[in-house]
Amino acid sequence: MAEKSKAIMIHEKDNVATAIVPLKAGSTVSLEVQGRKEKVKLLSSIPMGHKFALRPIANGENVIKYGEPIGETTAAIARGEHVHVHNVVSHRGRKEGA
């Protein structure tokens, strides 16, 4: 299915997927990994290579890619929303209080 090749979900535990072409807000993307199937309607436009949420992610919750945490959210993120530096922060190498 051509539609499937628009984004990649790497690990079945992931709560984000990566757009491999620029995706428009309002479009629907189908994904599949290790038997898990997802169909997500995008709330934001997603630049190529950027991530969107596969399910709602609460404020302060881990963002999971490659099956591992890559940081935590700084705001609640809705399914289909752009996930990047504006709403995710690293757990690591942070100075105190940052």
Binding site: I10, G71, G93, K95
Partner: protein, 385 residues
């Protein structure tokens, strides 16, 4: 399997047959550049250190310069000093002698100025080049290959395509009994638990975790935030959000084999198989460290595109980004972007990289070599005084 390489007096094998002119100090760098100019096969190092250094910092500069001299890709060495530096040319030359190759040194103050130094240096290098030309390639088992791995200018394609493909190639090299160096310790932050789990012994695993903890602490101790430097702005534009995300994509390069050893910057591996060298994430610092650690070939993955090359070794550039390949064909050797489209498997691309490594080791010039890209930068760990 074999590659066609050059057997050295000390039994080691090189993939290039360079005559290397080392400036022991920044003051003689200009002369070394002039000596090697228009002499095919002769290369110099763009060393900007070598004076007013003390302790471990001086040792690291010395070890790196000596490591380039002893690297089996180098046939013979001329060290050029100024004469008053605290890392004298003689000291570097003497440390290279045990490798069994011809080593000479000259000093600008002793020879009597730059013009005479260039003339004398060119005479010595021409002799060395004539001797180098007489040496022929012969079959060398892949078990004698040390392959450096690196990624730079990463974007979302690095973790999805080029690094997993390089990992498959790394597994093939290790499968042949060869050695693969993984480096850039700062870009293991967030993925260190996965690598530590693969260590041969719990002690080696603990070393991995300790290294990462040290780097993270150092970053925080500066009062700064590592996030200001890593991921870099280009990484972020390319879709990478955090250092953890970058790291998780990054460690694919090392493949899936057991981690055999953790080594310090610019030291050669003492084990075969996968080894980790402690280096910064800085592209040229780490490439320099691995070449000083006697790697003969490097494979460098990039998403955004980089021109990086080494003075003494092929650096094979791989991208998983079709647009970058189209825009930077003169820099990039292999395009593995079909992985993302599902048209090539990671294993197939890994096989192609492996074959390119053997070809490069047997004499095929990488694009960075064709461009004359000869980056050199020592990981500085102390102040100049």
């Amino acid at each position: 399997m074999n590659f066609m390489g050059y057997r050295r007096a000390n039994g080691k094998a090189g993939v290039r047959n360079h005559v290397l002119v080392i400036p022991s100090v920044v003051c003689s760098q200009g002369a070394t550049e002039a000596i090697t100019r228009n002499l095919k096969g002769a290369v110099y190092l763009a060393n900007v250190f070598g004076c007013a250094q003390v302790g471990a910092d001086r040792e690291q500069t010395k070890r790196t310069l000596v490591g380039f001299g002893t690297n089996p890709n180098v046939f013979a060495v001329l060290v050029v000093g100024n004469g008053c530096e605290n890392l004298p040319a003689k000291e570097i030359a003497e440390a290279i002698i045990p490798s069994g190759k011809r080593v000479e040194f000259i000093e600008i103050q002793d020879v009597g100025g730059t013009k005479k130094t260039i003339a004398k240096g060119k005479r010595i290098v021409r002799e060395m080049l004539a001797d180098a030309a007489a040496l022929e390639r012969e079959p060398i088992p892949l078990s004698e290959l040390i392959m450096a791995t690196e990624c730079g200018g990463s974007d979302y394609t690095s973790g999805l395509a080029s690094n997993p493909a390089l990992g498959a190639a790394s597994d093939l090299v290790v499968g042949e009994g060869g050695t693969v160096i993984l480096s850039e310790t700062t870009e293991l932050i967030g993925a260190e638990h996965l690598l530590a789990r693969r260590a041969r012994t719990p002690e080696i695993g603990k070393k991995v975790l300790d290294l990462i903890a040290w780097w993270e602490k150092e970053a925080i101790a500066t009062g700064q935030d590592i996030r200001g430097a890593n991921p870099a702005p280009g990484n972020i534009a390319g879709g990478i959000t955090t250092i953890e995300e970058k790291s998780l994509g990054c460690i694919y390069k090392g493949g899936t084999t057991t981690l055999e050893e953790v080594i310090q910057y610019a030291f050669p591996p003492t084990k075969k198989g996968l080894v980790l060298m402690d280096t910064p994430g800085h592209d040229i610092d780490q490439l320099t460290g691995m070449m000083a650690g006697e790697a003969q070939v490097a494979v460098f993955t990039t998403g955004r595109g980089t021109p990086t090359g080494s003075p003494i070794a092929p650096v094979i550039k791989i991208t998983g980004n079709a647009e970058t390949y189209r825009k930077m064909k003169d820099n990039i050797d292999l395009n593995v972007s079909q992985i993302i489209k599902g048209k090539e498997t990671v294993q197939e691309a890994g096989k192609r990289i492996f074959e390119e490594v053997i070809a490069a080791a047997s004499g095929k010039l990488s694009k960075a070599e064709k461009l004359g890209q000869r980056d050199f930068c020592i990981f500085k760990i102390g102040l100049n005084f």
